[in-house]
Subunit: 142 residues, 2 copies
């Protein structure tokens, strides 16, 4: 299982998901939880550029993804883990807070879940949705 | 065969490619030609937001795509057709000029190539790279 917002889909997202799937070994099935607009609004103070249904459909259209689902309106990582029942949870380089919450829940419930951290892929300026937004604003806002 | 810039990949792109593949019938193989940065610069007067290698890799990562290749530096639709040798060329709703050039070349060379036009998918404000850019500028340029 991997999760994220996946706004303005870019190569960094795809590489993250490919590494997440690799972490599951041969025949792994990758289930991706796509954050709700309401969750992003609550945590970042603004909605994503692309609405949740489009982000979900785009993630689902990737070769590496076996299944994509939307998160819960009232986001709780414990609920997500209980629903998906993953063997492995892969977290991205920028998901430190999430890792802490995941480990806490897994330990508390004594679940057999492996938590892995997946690295950052190069320092490319465009492997980040916020940097893509920034480039667009610089280029087109006149 | 389908072609395009595929800057800021969105659901409209994916649906266009799905329709293009459907036009080829069962067992169709979809080859996508991704426009070079230099071609976009020459035709639109500016480079895409995402560089060609990232656009290529992202298109290639889609389930619907069997193969993705970059166009020629000196773009010529005839060269592309000669290289790919497609049975069917699918053109999007916004590729009118391209359709004319394709038909001209196919007729001149008497090629057995079917040219199909694939429709627009809803009037969603975010099924267009330029509208996504516009939304980002409106939201974030302060």
């Amino acid at each position: 299982m991997a999760s994220g917002v996946f706004d303005l889909l870019h190569l960094g997202h795809v590489k993250f998901l490919e590494e997440a799937k690799k972490a599951g070994g041969k025949n792994a099935e990758l289930i991706v939880v796509v954050a709700r607009d309401s969750t992003v609004q609550a945590t970042k103070g603004r909605k994503p550029v692309m609405p949740e249904n489009q982000r979900l459909a785009l993630v689902e259209s990737l070769k590496v993804v076996d299944q994509a689902v939307l998160g819960f309106e009232e986001f709780d990582i414990g609920d997500v883990i209980d629903r998906i029942k993953p063997d492995i949870i892969a977290l991205g380089y920028d998901q430190e807070d999430m890792e802490e919450k995941v480990r806490e829940y897994v330990n508390k419930r004594k679940l057999k879940v492996t938590v892995v951290r997946v690295g950052k892929f190069g320092e490319d300026e465009l492997s980040s949705s916020s940097k893509i937004r920034q480039k667009i604003v610089e280029k087109f806002a006149r």
